[in-house]
């Protein structure tokens, strides 16, 4: 039996309790959310990154408002032959030579137009919506799958752990972007058809699913390590001695203790997801044109990089701001709720 070969629990008789760790004030004790919030509030990095995030998210959510009431144009509407009044003069949205108009600072074409005469501001806002939607769904999938696999592998150990860990090895051994492109291209053509579940090829759910699945390993690995150590804690033995089943121990004893790790991992995973989404969409394996996303916008702008650099720079800057703030926020939260770096340690010693 697995228990018998586990020397950790054997000569526990007189060994002193881990008083050293018990005496360190546990910041988590005050509540994960409250501790995180306090840390964010009290540092400039936390405040700045949170503000940036709120701005990006709120403006993306408000995309239809801007489109309908300010710009008076949809994200896919072409204005190739339109003219607008700029400083009192009628100007082509896209010039005769094919050069789109730059930022006007006016209601229409606030950030200029692209080569098809589409309003960049509108597309940026809608693109943000798509990118954030995909990232949110993908991060949720990653956290759910990662928790599930990490928890099962760490709790049951033995062959279950071997199967899951080797599966994760295989997933990790494949270059993640390459895997994403392969899956993205394959599914973009035919969609996903599983009989009952049919997803069309241009659905946003497809890139979300792909990114969500390929990132699972980054959550499953650390959670496996943390579960491995949690299951040896005395309160798990206490639950067992009272007659709790494995399922009950997982639900009542282990799962509530994974909160710290999940809260530390979530912003990092989210940031990573945003950049993967952009990368895949840029390479044509994510959001399918003409639908906008930060990645496709950068890709679109690349064709006219010299004549209209704003087409690439603006979505690139928003993307960078998003990823940077998420990482900053993640750092602040991690320092607040995991000062001893246990989650980071679990990420490192995987085997």
């Amino acid at each position: 039996m697995a228990e018998a070969t586990q020397p950790a629990g054997v000569p526990a008789s007189g060994t002193p309790a881990p008083a050293a760790t018990a005496n360190v004030p546990d910041p988590v004790a005050a509540g994960l959310w409250r501790a995180s919030w306090r840390a964010i509030k009290s540092s400039w990095a936390g405040r700045l990154s949170l503000l940036t995030l709120v701005l990006i998210v709120a403006s993306s959510l408000a995309a239809p408002l801007w489109a309908n009431h300010v710009a008076d144009s949809g994200p896919l509407t072409n204005h190739l032959t339109d003219q607008i009044r700029l400083n009192g003069e009628l100007t082509d949205v896209v010039s005769f030579e094919g050069i789109p108009i730059g930022p006007t600072g006016q209601k229409r074409f606030f950030l200029g137009a692209d080569a098809n005469g589409r309003d960049i501001m509108v597309r940026l806002l809608y693109g943000g919506r798509n990118s954030l939607q995909i990232s949110l769904v993908a991060t949720t999938i990653t956290l759910l799958l990662g928790t599930l696999f990490g928890l099962i592998a760490g709790f049951f150990r033995g062959w279950v752990d071997s199967v899951i860990s080797r599966g994760l090895d295989i997933l990790q051994s494949t270059p993640i972007i390459l895997l994403g492109i392969a899956l993205g291209v394959a599914t973009a053509l035919g969609g996903i058809n599983l009989g009952i579940v049919k997803i069309p090829g241009d659905s946003l759910f497809i890139p979300a699913l792909i990114i969500g699945v390929i990132q699972t390993v980054y959550v499953a690995r650390p959670l496996r390590g943390i579960t491995l150590s949690l299951r040896e804690r005395p309160f798990v033995e206490a639950a067992r001695s009272q007659g709790a089943t494995n399922m009950r121990i997982i639900r009542r004893e282990i799962l509530p203790n994974l909160g710290t790790s999940l809260l530390v991992l979530a912003p990092i995973i989210f940031a990573q997801t945003v950049s993967y989404e952009a990368a895949l969409s840029f390479l044509g394996a994510g959001v399918q044109p003409p639908n906008p996303s930060w990645g496709t916008l950068i890709s679109d702008g690349l064709d006219v990089l010299v004549s209209a650099p704003h087409l690439t720079i603006i979505p690139g800057a928003v993307l960078a701001a998003m990823v940077l703030s998420l990482n900053l926020l993640g750092d602040v939260v991690r320092e607040a709720i995991d000062p001893r770096g246990m989650v980071a340690a679990a990420q490192k010693d995987e085997h």
């Binding site: 018998a4 070969t5 054997v10 000569p11 007189g14 009272q242």
Partner: protein
């Protein structure tokens, strides 16, 4: 109710495969606990007493031996069935910090046992409060987190959690050794009260004889996986026969400066490794009275007329008449069949009129 003792473990052997071979944590231990009785299990760190406590609960499966609850052998009962009777045997753990889940409220922790027995949620609350009040806590602790409580309070929660299951047997694994001395006394008093009021049987594991003396009706002394001496508490304290027990008793500090000069029976050396224990009597390398027979022959546990038992070839204060009246405990190993009786003659020269320290108190 049957005549069988509440808990009887026989010839328990607990082995673990470790890197350098086999670690025998518990070696052929037989122990009974009657209803309402408190048995103190004493020994040094690493002697196997905690392992034995866990084996009794089948938190670790014994390598050999039987565990019987009220005469019913539960050694091989499948886990599913075992879960249904777990509420009858509850455990209080050594570490008051680690044994409470930091992410669950006190009420939920104490209510677990009720939940597991299918007590409806509506009734759980009153029973949880009753259990908390029983240990000196109250309704205002219901929604607290473990980290909001002191070590002593946490350990009370640990006791309340065990009590909520209304057990017949409480196994306390060094329940006070992680606490401050002043708090220790309170918890010990609580456990004594519980035994008196609820008729709870207890297996009280400790390394501190002075604590055990307050709670235990009977004492069993373990050394390197074996029980070397056992008996009613007064008998062990008044007439300890095994040199190891006497050394333990001598180590109990006495608050009496006039007796400061008393002769100490210090134990030499370290506890040998249970992976490679000394042959014969495990204690012989550290025993001041060891002879050739001690190095080759494992002493049987002899039962003396006063209820005391000792596994020693040269027990203290034992006369030839005592030996003649004594009976021997069966050993699992067939090699034990031809074992020699304790030697009363050598006992006297070791015991130069000195009584064990504890007998004075």
């Amino acid at each position: 109710m049957s005549d069988a003792p509440l808990m009887k473990v026989e010839h328990i052997r607990q082995e673990f495969a470790v890197k350098d071979g086999t670690l025998r944590a518990v070696d052929d231990v037989t122990l009974t606990i009657d209803r309402g009785e408190t048995v103190g299990l004493v020994g040094e760190s690493g002697c196997g007493k905690s392992t034995l406590a866990r084996t009794v609960l089948r938190l670790i499966e014994p390598t050999q031996g039987t565990i019987a609850l009220e005469g019913r052998d539960i050694t091989k009962v499948p886990q599913r069935e075992l879960r249904a009777i777990r509420h009858r045997m509850q455990m209080v753990f050594q570490d008051p910090y680690g044994s409470l889940n930091p992410r669950r409220r006190i009420g939920a922790i104490v209510g677990d046992a009720l939940d597991l027995r299918g007590v409806p949620k509506s009734e759980q609350r009153t029973q949880v409060i009753a259990a908390l009040e029983r240990v000196g806590l109250g309704i205002d602790h219901l929604h607290r987190w473990p980290h909001e409580l002191s070590g002593g309070q946490r350990q009370r929660v640990g006791v309340a959690r065990a009590l909520a299951a209304s057990p017949d047997l409480l196994i306390a694994d060094e329940p006070v050794s992680a606490l401050d001395v002043s708090v220790q006394a309170q918890l010990v008093n609580l456990l004594v009260d519980l035994q008196r009021d609820l008729g709870l049987a207890q297996l009280f594991v400790a390394h501190d004889l002075s604590v055990v003396r307050q709670v235990a009706d009977r004492i069993a002394v373990m050394y390197l996986g074996r029980i070397v001496e056992s008996g009613p508490t007064d008998v062990v304290f008044a007439r300890a026969r095994h040199p190891y027990t006497r050394a333990l008793l001598a180590a109990v500090p006495i608050a009496d400066p006039s007796r400061r000069g008393r002769q100490r029976e210090a134990i030499r050396g370290e506890l040998p490794s249970p992976i490679d224990p000394p042959p014969g009597c495990h204690f012989h390398p550290r025993c001041p009275h060891a002879t050739d027979v001690c190095m080759t022959e494992q002493p049987a546990l002899w039962h003396y007329a006063d209820g005391g038992r000792a596994a020693c070839h040269h027990p203290y204060g034992v006369s030839a008449a005592d030996v003649a009246a004594a009976s021997r405990d069966d050993l699992a190993s067939p090699a034990a069949a031809g074992m020699s009786a304790p030697d009363p003659s050598t006992a006297d020269l070791a015991d130069a009129g000195e009584t064990p320290a504890g007998a004075q108190a």
